[in-house]
């Protein structure tokens, strides 16, 4: 027994030594997830990015992650990562903003990146994806394909990111069919397969034949598949859940951004910035257009190319919901308005919930 114990501790000591030796010459990139790295949605998307980073940079980088970090309890997690020798830390949820900023101020030598927030520091950058670009394409597809002229839209909480998506979707749809309508249901959760499925059923029962979603589970698509109707995937390609129902999906593709930023950090060119990239930079990509006739597919590809070429879906003329003008002909919305968006555009017969 004693021998065994000795052998174990000797072995562990060797592992420890080996690990610390490795840690010294590798650049360390660390990630904080609000959900589980196998949640099949948002956090898993970031973890794919982390794995991509490891694959691309191989031996030069070492990564680690902490998952299911409660936002109110996250300051310690960032502190731990800063102290444990992480060179760059990615906080991947909006709610990490203030805690991450506090830690960033205490650890000026460590670089921080925060997804979807709006506060920065010399050593803290923000990054986000222009998901609304993909939603515009979805809106166009919906207007082309819907027989009812009506789509359902399942949403979580009325934050600007979500409002922006709804607006972009309806603008896309109206560009094809000016009378297109959308019914909006708030399920008050980012992830609850049961609730999302119920919402999809309610929307289909009320006559929608296409469902879009700003929640993370593939449940609405499964319902669409069951009923022979259609929808769009969210955060990842959900085609395996609904091979006959998914037209396309907005796929989060954080990997290239992570590679770019870690490389910049390694060669000393990293700068604090507010990155908000889109289809052009491939931070989001559209899943293959499927279950669509060729002309609709072609239209979607053309719109995608147009956006990649620099066109913004929020280009005037656009009126607000009450008919008052927002963007003049040819005018493009500034990013600030989009990031703080709390109004619907014309064509949505609903009110933004105020809680």
């Amino acid at each position: 027994m004693k021998k065994l114990l000795f052998a174990l501790s000797a072995a562990s000591a060797m592992v420890l030594v080996a690990a610390s030796a490795q840690a010294q010459d590798k650049f360390k990139a660390c990630f904080v997830y609000v959900g589980s790295h196998t949640d099949g949605g948002y956090s898993e998307g970031h973890d794919h990015g982390r794995q991509f980073l490891e694959k691309e940079l191989g031996d030069k980088v070492q990564t680690s992650f902490v998952e299911n970090v409660a936002e109110a309890d996250s300051e310690r997690t960032f502190e731990r990562l800063a102290r444990e020798g992480c060179n760059i830390v990615f906080g991947t949820s909006f709610g990490f903003m203030d805690p991450e900023l506090k830690v960033a101020k205490r650890f000026p030598k460590v670089l921080f990146e925060h997804a979807t927030g709006f506060k920065t520091a010399d050593n803290m950058a923000t990054y986000n994806a222009r998901f609304y670009e993909g939603r515009y394409i979805q809106g166009q597809i919906a207007a082309k394909m819907s027989k009812a002229g009506l789509a359902g839209y399942i949403v979580s909480f009325p934050i600007p990111e979500v409002i922006m998506g709804i607006n972009s979707f309806i603008l896309g749809a109206q560009s094809i069919n000016p009378d297109f309508k959308v019914k909006i249901v708030w399920v008050r959760s980012w992830f609850d397969p049961g609730k999302e499925a119920d919402a999809a059923k309610a929307l289909f029962d009320q006559g929608a034949d296409i469902v879009a979603q700003h929640t993370d589970s593939p449940a609405p698509l499964q319902i669409a598949q069951e009923r022979g109707l259609h929808g769009f995937g969210q955060a990842s390609d959900m085609i395996s859940f609904a091979p006959k129902a998914q037209y396309t999906a907005i796929v989060d593709n954080w990997g290239p951004y992570y590679v770019e930023r870690v490389k910049a950090a390694m060669d000393g060119t990293w700068k604090s910035q507010q990155s908000w990239e889109g289809l052009k930079e491939k931070i989001l990509v559209m899943a293959p257009y499927t279950n669509l006739p060729d002309d609709v597919k072609k239209m979607a590809e053309e719109t995608e190319a147009k956006i990649v070429g620099g066109w913004n879906p929020f280009t005037g003329p656009v009126s607000k919901q009450d008919g008052s003008p927002w963007l003049k002909d040819g005018e493009v919305s500034d990013d600030g308005t989009l990031l703080g968006m709390n109004f619907y555009v014309k064509g949505i017969d609903d009110a933004i919930p105020n809680n």
Partner: protein
Amino acid sequence: MRLELVKRPQRSMLFSALSPFIAFVLTAAAGAIMFALLGYNPVKALGTYISPLTEVWQLHELAIKAAPLILIAVGLSVCYRANIWNIGAEGQFIIGGVVGSIVPVLYPTYESWLLLPLMMVMGMIGGAAYASIPALLKVRFNTNEILTSLMLVYIAENVLDWLVRGPWRDPNGYNFPQTAQFNDYAILPAIASSSGRAHIGFIFALVAAVLMWFLMKRMLKGFEVRVMGASPRAGRFAGFSHGKMVFFAFMVSGALTGLAGISEVSGTINQLQPVISPGYGFTAIIVAFLGRLNPLGIVAAGLVLALTYLGGEAVQTALGLSDKVARVFQGMLLFFVLGCDTLIHYRIRLIGAKAEPAAAQPAARLEEAH
């Protein structure tokens, strides 16, 4: 063959002292097996698990994490000693945080040294008031307080959710569901800011534990609590009122829990968010038991539970284990602790095929809840 419990004539002092350690050893052993099954070196993994104890900054974090657990559990221990089952501390924590935040949220520019004491008192009042609901329902309508206090948790969660998404939302926060950050006068000061971020909420917890220990051990009120807990009938003969005891226990525990809530909001989060507690109110129930309902034991238990959280993070970053490991670890620890506690009140014996001798002593029916 089966197990049978034989009530000890009195609490076993031996097992009172030993049972937490037996539980720890069993947990460590089971944890080692689990790590081995997952393909990790158990010695190294366990070592990493307790590594937070080796660094000063992590000790600060331990104090931050333990403070709310200790404060809540100390309050709960009074309830449980009195055989009153408040399991809604999570809700009282939230309401304490909300009520304590009224002034800094509605008057964000109010800067005064009075602000913090005011917030703490309001937090305690909020927690106590919310805890008085199940107390009132129990005394007035004879409802089961386990169920009402649990239901009130979910109502409190929705109150907070509504506030931070609606009326209390930061006007400059891009519609994100949180209040504005508090000003410096509304933030609890750090204990030793040079070495870490622990705030004086931890001192509150220690003071509360000592005071409550004194109250329970040395004061008539403590005696009353214990008598009422052991036998309400005997308590009535002694002239104690059961109704008053219910209120006393709930409000003491609610006030301490409310203090924990506002301390966490003020000292750690610095604003209100839709979720301000990662389940402290429920974890504290376990802490109360792990500390054997003794306020000083609870201090140790709170630190141990805090360590399981921190250790869980350490194994994630150092070894790449999933956070589920930490949860399973906590679950096992709790089961072993609860199981070992049985040894304090009972002897366990195996009843085999052979006939047993006549019972040594008829045991009184167990009225005690622990």
